[in-house]
């Protein structure tokens, strides 16, 4: 066929598994619109019963951090291990976290 496929926008696909509570990013695909992206995601990413729910998001609406910002963004956290919850006993009543 022609090159029209290249003109289709890119979509990021998020799938929630049967056990999972949240949608997880599992890949991307090209589709003409959101409905088609959803249908294609069903065929490409849930063939082996991976999911019970699908989100598709236009890739160009995602604002991502820059690799160059890594030092300023993430390294200040490296010496603050007290922020990890490993220092606390989580009561059973809290349940899933």
């Amino acid at each position: 066929m022609s090159t029209t496929h290249n003109d289709w926008p890119l979509w990021e696909v998020f799938v929630r598994s049967k056990q999972g509570l949240e949608h997880k990013h599992c890949g991307s695909l090209h589709a003409a619109d959101a409905q088609q992206a959803l249908q294609m995601a069903r065929d490409v990413y849930t063939r082996r019963q991976e999911g019970v729910s699908i989100w598709v998001v236009p890739s160009n609406t995602i604002t991502a951090s820059e690799p160059d910002d890594k030092a300023a963004f993430f390294e200040p956290m490296a010496d603050k291990i007290y922020r990890h919850p490993t220092f606390y006993e989580i009561p059973d009543e809290v349940g899933h976290m």
């Binding site: 090209h30 409905q35 249908q39 490409v44």
Partner: protein
Amino acid sequence: MKTVEAPVGTRTAALGYLLHLADNALVLGQRNAEWCGNGPVLEEDIALANMSLDLIGQARLLYQHAAVVAGEGVTEDSLAYFRDATDFRNYTLLELPHSSDTSERDYAVTIVRNFLYSALMLLLWEGLQKSKDAQLAAIAGKSFKEVRYHFRHSRDWLVRLGDGTAESRARTQAALEHLMPYTQEYWAPSAIETVADTEGRAIDAAALKREWDDLVNDALQEAGLQRPAPGTGLPQGKNGQHSDHLAPLLAEMQSLARAHPNALW
């Protein structure tokens, strides 16, 4: 063409009807599998392979059930791989190649056929869930879920292609003109269908015509496509009289099983 048929008994009708449904699924599943590795885009390649596997899965369940009804050492494999074209009872529509005047493999032909067939099966599988043949009713329950997606997929593309570019609209309209006449076969009950229907195993497809018309007309209107005249010929695939296209399809599908009988994976 008028054929003289022997009276059809209960067992012949039960078996014949199961083979009709199974052959429909197997032949279209095999035909659509030709897109594997050739799809217009990767996602559609996978979608069609998924749907072919649904259809072949339906065919397997129906052949397994038919083999029990047939007895005498018949198996699902002997039904799928060791019958010739004249024994197949699928609609002629489903054996036609994907080709058109413009293309060797035309996606509009594929989509229009899938749409015209899944619109029927949507209604048929729904009704067959109440078949007096409990095994068939169970197969219908599973198949109904699958065909709902097949219908949604083909309808979605029908609207996109009809409401798309000048070329996609022209190709889709041409595919409709080509394929619509073959749907006449749906509405002319065979002797087997009539007996199976009387006994509560089958559904009289002719009784579904009004609903089918609504499904088709609704989609065509949304797609901006014209419904062609029904045509005058009456295809006879379900009575075993096929086009020249079925034998080569079966030859390819059956060659391995016939070259190596009883081979195991």
